[in-house]
Symmetry: C2
Subunit: 117 residues, 2 copies
């Protein structure tokens, strides 16, 4: 069965929210928002094992939130701000739809003569 | 092993992003951002079965993004804008950290005398 909305909801949103649904991966995103870091630089301060970082990195890269490049034996990771922005915007648009409806409701109640209804 | 950051990253963020990582559940959040709806009202236009809506609703309610109440035989669902806002803000703060760093880098490069370094 195909959900109608699925056509407009790219699979990338699934992957991005899935990637963000883990405190270890969010800690990596948080660190990378301060600047690029190698896998070791991510592992040490976050107190996550290297192999856990590598696993999390795969999930983050698949989602598009992070990219990495290997030069020699060193892999450096970078945040992808456009992807972060896409994940933020989906939520923002829903919240704005709700807020506009709430404002209209407020206007309606303000203009409604007292005691009517 | 405890991730240091986990203490500051409430489990609720895990649950909220997990809830948003599904196109069917996002379609429900989208519909509810336009106003409250019963389970049947959610199921029909989204072309999701009633039992799928009930399952998705459980995940959304556990995450705090949606609440529902049953009056008689009818269960009505409401979006929880504060929770939506919390999910949005975590991403927004990371994006802003990145943008500020990028601005500082731009300033630095602008003020750097040409040819230095």
């Amino acid at each position: 069965m195909i959900v109608k909305h699925m056509l407009h909801q790219p699979v990338q949103l699934d992957l991005m929210y899935q990637a963000l649904a883990d405190a270890g991966r969010r800690a990596m995103v948080e660190r990378l928002s301060c600047g690029p870091a190698t896998v070791s630089e991510l592992a040490e301060p976050l107190n996550i094992t290297l192999s856990a970082v590598v696993q999390h990195l795969k999930v983050l890269e698949t989602s598009g939130l992070v990219r990495s490049e290997k030069v020699g034996r060193v892999r450096t990771c970078h945040i992808q701000p456009e992807a972060l922005s896409m994940a933020e915007q989906w939520i923002n648009q829903r919240r704005m739809t709700w807020a506009r409806r709430f404002d209209r409701l407020g206007e309606y109640l303000k203009n409604e003569p007292e005691g009517s209804g």
